[in-house]
């Protein structure tokens, strides 16, 4: 096999080109696909077959509808290539030929080239056998792929360890699984064919391609995995992204590209998954079907590679295109473009009061005061929304609120048994973060400061970041630090790859340990009974650390011996002198050892293979390292490189989710090629903005807040109420724990009290999740045990409603002598004015006529005034308009 330079750029653009071709044709052809189309589109447009008997499929479209199953194929030269009964093109001998494609009289031609058809080919365990084990589910987590195996036969989960699987197949069970004398009798084929009892049932059909392929491998005496053999480098999924009508189907064709530039049709060996099979389903054979309007991606998995195509089905709405016209900034362009494609009409803009409340809550985590609400509503300046946004971003409450978000991401908590910093350390890390937010430190700078932190937590509070993820582990690389860093800064969930290759991503087990190796020169020194002092992060290795300690000890001994030698006489002095020499020799030796250890390439052991993994970036980039260097530096340099979309995308997605309620990628910290953003254009635009503005968080916030998209009403239209993903309206959501708690305190003017903190300290300002609060726990504050954003829980639960409706705390605040209502009732005799203030304090708007009437009606029943107003206050704070951000 000869290796040529891989042609990545071509591969990357190929599907796009094909799509462009398809679009052009669609414009030319205006007739219905059921009639005779003027032209057919072929995917691919040319086929090169390598090797004896190799096969390749073909997709055919007319008017961008899939007609693959309805065409008739003929080979111009059956001596070169034939058409199999199931419509595959199969190599016969070397040469060129043409396949003609006939659909109701419209003909298209496909040039094909066959090479190496006579060249004997040794079946490959990795390329020919393993994919069958995966696609038939043999090595899935429910069968032989589970940790314990199944009925004594264990395979690696989805084939992450070919060498192990080879041994399991050929060597175990006295090699009875494979029978060279009678290949067809091998248990390896008899079991899945169901010829002998198999709990997993029939997985192979007789004389199928897979069956024949397995037999060929056994007939070749089951060659072992060839370490020099290359796996495919990318997958191409045809026909690429497209739109479908409800119930329309599309066959997929998956081509694997290899480093030697060969291409193989692996459709029959792929596993297919839909990212949302409420919208799109896909069969084992790769037939996609649209179920209902929306857009989602379908993934094809083959040998650790993932290919993704996105399908869109428009809603059955008639919408005037004027509805999508108004755009305020670069965010609106892609959002409204997508809404138009989906036929989803946007809700109208929200009113001023809603905007005021919404932006206060999203930016500062607080409610506007009644006075602020009145002033804003009265303001006639047409730019008042932008002005408010600018003002909010400069408020100290913004700093509190964003410090809270960062404290979640950075897991600012006390580690259970091993955190000598105590609450003080957690507070000082929070204070440090507050300074960074106040100074609007850009995200790359902040990342650098946190990830490269070293020294003690007293002087470098950001070292605190490492305390929770490293936890009680002695070896940093065995801790959750790698998982945490990948999740917090790259939005990558690499944790699965710790034990087996990532099921949905290209990450292998090796990649995980390569990544963990960046922290192999992080040594956390925690004080104990012997040494005391603050928790310290040293850039060193455990070996160096140990030798260092021996040097100190030997140094002390040397000094003692030297002074003894000087003070004593005769025999004692001689003995001490000998010791001095010994200690000197030892010191020299230790120093040499230290120098050696210092030069040793950093790395960690991969537990499955036992190999040492050097630091290597998640995208496979190798790392240069010079002795003494902190490997984290190259990690951070790679991360913060403007081209690293995972780094910018991670923060862009978190910001977007914060303001819009739903991330462009969901879950918010699960960025991967197999989980693409719901709006790729918007994704690109936001990332570009973030990068060109040097990772300025406030710049992106300002963009979002000023967009038409953000300022849409949360009220739904009949035509967009099913939309939960495309921002046709603002997605209303329950207030987060801290904001809701503070909102009740602000509305009632009765502050909460947290043990150990001054009265008036708001929930948003609290540094750590360990502070006792029934309310905050009930409403799902983050415990910060992991970096996962899912720890902050926005669910609505029954106890929450019991608490709001019946709990004593709310009513205590309503009644409090020093609270808003008591003072208001005493000072204000006009019921209408009291009503208005209560509405402004809770919902940030004056009551409507109808609401006024309802209150008046309640007051007219003649009960004590204060009682009625207390009940009104209760009702306001139990309403969704109060407990939700809308």
């Amino acid at each position: 096999m000869t290796f040529r330079k891989p042609a990545y750029p071509l591969r990357a653009t190929l599907p796009l080109l094909l799509l462009a071709v398809a679009v052009l044709i669609a414009i030319q052809v205006s007739t219905n696909a059921a009639d005779t189309p003027s032209q057919l589109t072929l995917y691919p447009e040319q086929i090169d077959l390598h090797g004896p008997g190799s096969q390749h499929g073909l997709l055919v479209a007319a008017d961008s509808h899939d007609i693959t199953r309805q065409v008739h194929l003929t080979s111009s030269n059956p001596a070169i290539a034939i058409i199999t009964p199931d419509g595959q093109i199969q190599a016969v001998s070397d040469g060129q030929a043409e396949i003609s494609v006939d659909y109701k009289g419209t003909i298209a031609h496909l040039p094909i080239t066959i090479s190496d058809a006579a060249k004997p080919r040794i079946p490959s365990f990795r390329q020919d056998v393993m994919p069958i084990l995966t696609s038939t589910g043999c090595n899935s987590g429910g069968c032989h792929g589970k940790v314990a195996g199944q009925n004594g036969f264990k395979l690696s989960l989805r084939g992450y360890a070919p060498e192990q699987d080879y041994l399991a197949l050929t060597a175990e069970l006295d090699s009875r699984r494979i029978n060279f004398a009678a290949p067809a009798e091998s248990l390896f084929v008899q079991k899945p064919l169901g010829k002998v009892p198999h709990e997993g049932g029939v997985r192979l059909s007789e004389n199928s391609r897979a069956h024949k392929q397995l037999l060929r491998w056994i007939e070749a005496r089951s060659p072992s995995p060839d370490p020099a053999e290359s796996d495919s480098t990318s997958l191409e999924v045809l026909p690429g992204d497209r739109t479908l009508h409800v119930a329309e189907t599309q066959q997929l064709l998956v081509r694997a590209h290899y480093p030697d530039d060969t291409v193989r049709d692996v459709t029959w060996l792929c596993q297919f998954f839909s990212n949302d099979d409420n919208v799109i389903t896909v069969t084992r054979e790769g037939v996609v079907k649209s179920i209902r309007p929306g857009t989602t991606s379908v993934r094809a998995h083959f040998q650790g590679q993932v290919g993704v195509v996105t399908f869109t089905t428009a809603f059955e709405n008639q919408v005037d295109s004027a509805a999508f016209a108004g755009k305020k900034n670069l965010i609106d362009e892609p959002v409204f473009h997508q809404l138009e494609l989906l036929h989803l009409p946007p809700s109208p803009p929200c009113d001023d009061a809603t905007f005021l409340r919404r932006s206060f809550l999203d930016v500062t985590g607080t409610l506007p005061s009644p006075e602020e609400a009145v002033a804003f509503l009265a303001d006639t300046n047409p730019d008042k929304r932008s002005k408010l946004i600018d003002a909010l971003l400069e408020r100290p409450e913004y700093v509190d609120h964003w410090t809270l978000q960062l404290c979640d991401i950075f897991q600012n908590r006390r580690e259970r048994d091993h955190d000598a910093r105590g609450a003080k350390g957690v507070r000082s890390f929070q204070a440090w973060l507050r300074q960074q937010v106040a100074a609007n430190r850009h995200w790359d700078d902040l990342t650098r400061d946190v990830l490269l932190a070293k020294g003690d937590t007293v002087h470098q509070p950001q070292v605190g970041y490492f305390v929770a993820p490293i936890s009680e582990k002695q070896n940093v690389e065995e801790s959750d630090l790698g998982d945490s860093v990948a999740m917090a800064f790259l939005g990558s969930r690499i944790g699965c790859a710790r034990c087996h290759n990532h099921p949905l991503e290209k990450y292998t087990q090796d990649d995980y340990y390569h990544f963990a190796a960046f922290f192999s020169r992080v040594v956390m020194k925690r004080p104990n009974g012997d040494t005391g002092g603050p928790t310290t992060l040293a850039v060193s290795s455990r070996d160096e650390d140990q030798i260092d300690r021996q040097i100190s000890e030997t140094g002390r001994n040397l000094i003692d011996a030297t002074s003894t030698a000087a003070a004593e006489k005769d025999e004692e002095a001689r003995k001490a002198g000998a010791k001095v020499e010994e200690f000197e020799r030892r010191l020299l030796d230790l120093n040499n050892q230290l120098a050696e250890a210092h030069k040793r390439l950093p790395g960690v052991g991969q537990p499955r293979t036992g190999k040492t993994m050097a630091p290597q970036q998640l995208d496979g980039t190798k790392v240069e390292w010079s002795p003494g260097q902190d490997p984290r530096e190259s990690l951070v340099a790679w991360m913060t490189n403007p081209k690293n979309e995972n780094f910018s995308g991670n923060m862009v997605n978190r910001l977007w989710k914060h303001f819009m309620g739903v991330g462009l990628v969901e879950q918010v910290d699960d960025l991967r090629s197999s989980n693409p953003p719901s709006n790729p254009q918007l994704w690109k635009a936001l990332n570009q903005e973030f990068v060109t503005h040097q990772f300025d968080l406030k710049h992106v916030m300002r963009l979002i807040l000023n967009s038409r998209t953000y300022q849409l009403s949360s009220d739904t239209l009949a035509q967009n109420e099913q939309d939960h993903r495309f921002y046709s309206h603002y997605f209303a959501r329950r207030l987060p724990a801290e904001a809701l708690s503070d909102a009740i305190s602000a509305a009632t003017r009765v502050p909460d009290e947290y043990s150990g903190y001054p009265v008036g300290e708001r929930a948003v300002q609290l540094p750590e999740p360990g502070i006792n609060s029934y309310f905050l726990t009930l409403f799902g504050r983050s415990e910060r045990v992991t970096a996962c954003a899912c720890e902050r829980n926005g669910d609505v639960t029954l106890p929450q409603l019991l608490h709001l409706g019946n709990g004593s705390e709310l009513m205590k605040k309503v009644r409090a002598n020093e609270g808003r209502l008591t003072a208001l009732l005493a000072a204000e005799k006009d019921d209408a004015a009291v009503t208005k203030t209560l509405f402004l304090a809770t919902l940030s708007r004056p009551p409507t006529e109808k609401e006024f009437e309802a209150v008046k009606h309640a007051l007219a029943e003649g009960d004590p005034r204060d009682e009625t107003f207390r009940d009104l206050f209760w009702a306001l704070m139990n309403s969704k308009e109060f407990t939700f951000n809308h």
Partner: protein
């Protein structure tokens, strides 16, 4: 007392498989529902016929958080050297040939009503990881990737009356973070925390009105809320809002319902009964659990913490075991006398057993290789012992029972198909359990 309306309103599946399941399976072929799953599913669906007794209306799980020392309780090793045998003698039980540690005299007289499994095994010694494993039946991270059994039950049955389907007494287990949570099933399926029923004047948080409220005032609040809560009319298709409305309604009903209030009212029990269970958190929790299943609650977790005896285990066990002995034996006997054991499964286990060798601090450490579990009721064969450990109580020598087997059996007992596909929020289909099988010996 049994609330008739609750009994009537709960909808049980005739054979553990709903029509919806059939539809789903029919449509799932292409989603990778393998033949194995299908076979196992059919097996589960047919379990009715094979195990007509294996049907529970409810489950009580007594969780011994921290890990019970099996040597000193249900798997004594009198022949082993003292450093393994420990301090306690063994005593005979009312089942011939079955001996328990001497701190369990009441359980010794109750063993004819329970089935003892001495062969729990999973090889994980980490509290959080093992707890989340045994509580869900699925192995995942320490942080709880999979919903606890109770949460899945709650998801599958939903509310069948005024009381929540899944209650934890006093709350979910926790060392540093909460364990056995509802994971991706979300807040709707999370356990309803009852609190400690042994507290003087025990009340479930916010279940009763904080202050007396006249019917008139109640009506006023209701109409004012209706007048101002208009957002729902303008926003459709929002799950959180729909859940909010539903739970607001339920919360109001629970507060007004005497049935809901009295379910948690410990004073409704005679003081003799309360004494019999033990006047402590565990005993009263067991009693409350019985009250709740009587009223149709599907799954009750009684969480008993403090079994993590790394030091001075004798002091620890001499406090804990008599409390357990009293509470658990009374629970079994009381349920049996009331006929509740017929259709309630009672299960007790912790996250692991403890090390065979007593350590230098006179304690025993974590040991995931062997543990004792108890099963009773709902068709479980009483007076039986399943599985065994070696002479040092270190390794399982017979019939290893994995966490997934325990969970499988509990689900099957309630008529829930353990291979049913759930859906994660990302749309990923996920089987309730991906391994494990029915512990058939429990019924033979």
């Amino acid at each position: 007392m049994i609330d008739i309306s609750l009994q009537n309103s709960h909808s049980r599946l005739c054979n553990g498989v709903s029509r919806r399941d059939f539809l789903r399976v029919g449509g799932l072929g292409f989603l990778g529902l393998s033949m194995t799953n299908l076979l196992a599913w059919q097996k589960a669906a047919g379990a009715d016929a094979a195990n007509p007794k294996a049907r529970a209306k409810s489950i009580i799980l007594v969780y011994l958080s921290g890990g019970l020392s099996h040597h000193d309780s249900f798997d004594p090793k009198p022949e082993a050297p003292e450093e393994i045998r420990g301090k306690y003698k063994q005593i005979p039980s009312n089942v011939t040939g079955l001996y328990l540690g001497e701190l369990l005299p009441k359980m010794a007289k109750t063993m004819d009503k329970v089935c003892l499994v001495r062969s729990g095994a999973h090889e994980n010694d980490h509290h959080e990881t093992a707890s989340n494993w045994v509580l869900s039946g699925r192995f995942g991270s320490a942080f709880g990737d999979y919903p606890a059994i109770g949460a899945v039950v709650s998801h599958e049955t939903g509310f069948t009356g005024l009381l929540p389907p899944y209650v934890a007494i006093p709350k979910n287990p926790s060392f540093t973070w909460e364990l056995g949570k509802s994971a991706f099933l979300g807040g709707r399926c999370e356990s309803f925390k009852a609190g400690d029923p042994n507290q003087k004047g025990f009340k479930v948080a916010d279940l009763s009105l904080a202050e007396p409220l006249s019917a008139h005032s109640m009506q006023r609040r209701k109409s004012l809320l209706e007048a101002v809560d208009t957002l729902g009319a303008r926003i459709k298709g929002n799950d959180q809002m729909a859940t909010y409305d539903e739970f607001q309604q339920r919360a109001a009903e629970m507060v007004l319902s005497t049935e809901a209030q009295s379910a948690f009212d410990m004073d409704k029990e005679s003081s003799e009964m309360r004494d019999a269970y033990g006047r402590n958190e565990f005993g009263q929790s067991c009693l409350l659990a019985r009250r709740l299943v009587e009223r149709g609650v599907k799954f009750v977790t009684v969480n008993s913490g403090g079994w993590d005896h790394h030091k001075k285990i004798w002091e620890g066990l001499e406090k804990k075991l008599p409390v357990f002995d009293m509470g658990f034996s009374t629970l079994i006997n009381d349920m049996s006398e009331r006929g509740l054991l017929k259709d309630t499964m009672v299960v007790a286990f912790g996250e692991f057993g403890r090390t065979p060798k007593v350590n230098k601090d006179a304690g025993r450490d974590h040991w995931g290789r062997a543990a004792s579990l108890l099963f009773a009721g709902a068709g479980v064969t009483p007076g039986k012992v399943i599985g065994a450990t070696d002479k040092e109580g270190a390794f399982v020598t017979d019939r290893p029972i994995r966490p997934a087997d325990v969970a499988y059996t509990m689900y099957s007992s309630l008529g829930i198909n353990p291979r049913k596909q759930l859906r994660t929020p990302e749309g990923r289909p996920l089987e309730i359990l991906n391994e494990g099988e029915l512990i058939e010996d429990l019924y033979t």
